[in-house]
Subunit: 288 residues, 4 copies
């Protein structure tokens, strides 16, 4: 056997080692051993009953504990997104799912699954925009120039609509107004730097120019500001929204289950639907 | 037109009324109007920043606010279930999903979806058992007779395994031990009646009879006791676990995404798998 | 080191062997090697272009090729279940999902997920009933006694409703009528034994007794008969329905995507919904 | 009441009309009425038993029947993608899901859900590239210039990797080789124009330039060519793959269910995983 061949065999053997398997699933989140569970280094029995659920979410997602005020503000964000009535697609889907003979977990999954780019992505997109503007500030001549450059590129890439501003249903979104108060308070108290709040307000001013009805920052916009101030990466905005909205999805699925309906469609069946396709026709005697 | 026919037409018209549509989606959870969102009657802007996230979850699921201590204990339950490492199927699925080019919402959905009867149902099943034993107590001669009758029927229906007791990995589950402390404290303080705690301990004693290694109450069992003490219906146990475990699923999916792997299988590909099927064979010249 | 300890170490080492990993994922369906894919023993390149898609589905699910006539009849079953309009929950869900910014795969998944016990389980339940009656025939004095005993137990366990008979929308289901013709033809030609067809018809007669409007066998019932005649296990009935209905779900999701709607709810938003919950109320100054 | 106000009221009333509801769910795919189901205009009872399942899929997705040869070739594509062993993430996920106490529909959904941009999107992306090159041909001086311009833009947008060419596991993909034969035959027989086949081969030549191991067209690439020749829009490539791979997902989920394992993780549990996070640490006495 040549040396080279021997080396290759050794390498191959190593690749089939138990370590290769262990490493395939490596993770920095939770360590477990019989009788022991440590989350981000902390024994689970120390965390239970001492830190709040929002603080735990923060710890698990980020790796370090938030301060008390950070956890409170983060909790406010989680409270704000919980529900918006039975006709949001994610909710309506979970309700219909629950009448089809699947478990609560399945109904929640079918609903959470649709919190995609359009229904659940505004926060992430808004964070990306605000972070992009922030990253331009050091190079731009003025903050305003950075803002305009960021907005221009965003419009060029994604079209007219700026995520995080305006709401198709609410003129003024009561969630946004309240979160806005809390964030301003936090800025005054030095809990957050206020940098991203300033950028968000700059975007709002820019969008208002020459408009009779300027689109105000909505709940996704304010949340984006808050999560950026806290150092969250944009990708986690969707995760945070999923965790919050799952609560409403779960409650609606459960409420629906209590009604005992079976195979619930989107509208009362007597309405029917408009068929717009080919008129009645016969299969040719000889298929093509 | 006969009167009967006229009545039927009227009835049909009513069935196609806007009210029939509104009623199809009726709900008691959240009311919305332009500029207003009320959850279980409370304006969302009053809730944000004043009640904790666990209190909000309780309110949305149950319809009424918990007391401060109830919310704290409920929060402890939510903290306890967050994660158990990367190899729980729900977590491993979300990690693999994240390498296939779908969003964080989709990865979480694929994971949450499998928190079914076996992977996420123990809490609900344990609640059903304990509630069944409780309902037998008024009719039975002694609490012990109710307990034995309940266990017997459970075994007859579902087999040997009693959900909520024992753990295939942990001898003593550190989450159960800590939650157990909290619940005992709550019973001492009169926060809970202790009725279901007593039943749970009774089941534990019954399971220990004649065993060298009696299966202790696990995290699902203690959670079942706590949720029953709080008046939750058994079906919501699975929902509460979904809300808690979603946090770990989200964190793992995000951690995985940072690694940049593509189409991650369950084991390193060099291991392969054992094929146990038909040996190589040729299609017959003439198909059957 | 004692012998026993040495044995244990050896055993443990073996458990961490590459073979333990390979075996964890063992399967009898498809074997792969670089440049080679064999499905149930047949080289994929021999199957492509020679056997029909229904024959392939049968092969993959069952392990052996069907005859030509079996594949044709199985194909007819797959054709029959493809779609039932946009308001079946599985379809409506996929359509709504598609407006939320997720991929076609995700929309199909949210739809397929709800083909559960109630929306997609009738075929499996009907197969279980018919197979149960068949298994009673050898012990019962007459086929009729077996049938009555089977029905009685089914009613006792599952209530009044017999899956596979009657349709809430169609008086006579055109799919059932046509499949019924095909199955009768197959029985005449000796392609199937006709045993389960006879049992199905027996159930239909039993359900008709004393009824003005007897519930005829529906598409799930006829499909159940056909799959039993072909030797499918009941659990696969749901799988076969999923494969068939996925086609309609896919087509509807794609049709919806072409419309360009965003965040489509179940009804036009101007209708709203009826809120039936707590009236407006204020948070107490002092939280409980 | 002014005329304008009256008009608005009328308009609003119309918006709440039954027609507004019917229109919300309009569709050109399937029309249903009691006792009647028409798919793309054809009565379902005429389709069942007369057209093949692939022809039905084509009809439902596209609106018109394929010719016999088109249906055969389309069937070959569907046969080709059915399975690739138990360790593809979509399959492994469905197998693990099946051990967690959810239905076959749920396991299939969790698997199908991950056939996203990376795991199931290559066909669509390849179709977009080839269609883009085709659309450049009328404007470019030579077909080769169109091809180079298309590739350049694709590389600029999406990086080095061209979907539809090369395979990380198979040197030569046996599915691609066989489908390639069938498509060449179809081009000779005039069933397809061969235009996209030529473009695909052009891309293959361009990718081979100066490479010792040129990446051959893989199964996604050949499928992309075939679907373009048949006039499918790129978005449906993913749908077609989902319909094909669902068969393997279903078979694996069912095979797994027969084993009776519970809560199956991705690797044998004795291997464990490598924890790479924070070392054990204690919560500070005073939380931050």
């Amino acid at each position: 056997m040549t040396q080279k061949r021997a080396n290759m065999d050794e390498q191959k053997e190593q690749n089939l080692s138990p370590d290769a398997v262990k490493q395939w699933w490596e993770s920095a989140i939770t360590d477990i051993a019989p009788g022991a569970i440590r989350v981000r280094g902390y024994a689970i029995e120390e965390l239970i009953g001492r830190i709040s659920f929002p603080a735990m979410i923060w710890l698990v997602l980020r790796g370090e504990l938030p301060t008390h005020r950070q956890a409170e503000l983060f909790g406010a964000v989680l409270v704000a997104g919980v529900d918006h009535g039975p006709q949001a697609p994610s909710i309506a889907i979970a309700r219909m799912a629950m009448t089809c003979g699947i478990g609560l977990n399945g109904a929640i999954a079918s609903g959470v699954n649709v919190l995609g780019d359009v229904h659940g992505g505004a926060g992430q997109q808004c964070m990306e925009l605000l972070a992009d503007i922030a990253s331009r500030e050091s190079k731009a001549t003025t903050p305003d120039a950075a803002l305009r450059a960021g907005l221009e590129e965003f419009h060029a890439k994604h079209g007219r609509f700026i995520p995080g501003f305006g709401h198709r249903f609410h003129g003024i979104d009561p969630r946004a107004a309240r979160l806005s108060e809390l964030i301003r308070e936090a800025a005054r108290d030095g809990i957050i730097s206020g940098r991203y709040l300033a950028i968000g307000e700059g975007v709002q001013r820019a969008l208002a120019l020459g408009k009779a009805k300027p689109p105000p920052m909505n709940v996704d916009g304010i949340t984006a500001v808050m999560l950026l101030e806290f150092g969250f990466p944009p990708e986690l905005a969707r995760g945070v929204f999923v965790l919050s909205r799952s609560v409403g999805i779960c409650a609606h699925a459960y409420e629906q289950a209590q009604k005992g309906e079976r195979i619930k469609g989107p509208i009362p069946p007597q309405f029917g639907f408009r068929y717009t396709g080919a008129p009645p026709r016969k299969l040719p005697d000889e298929l093509p």
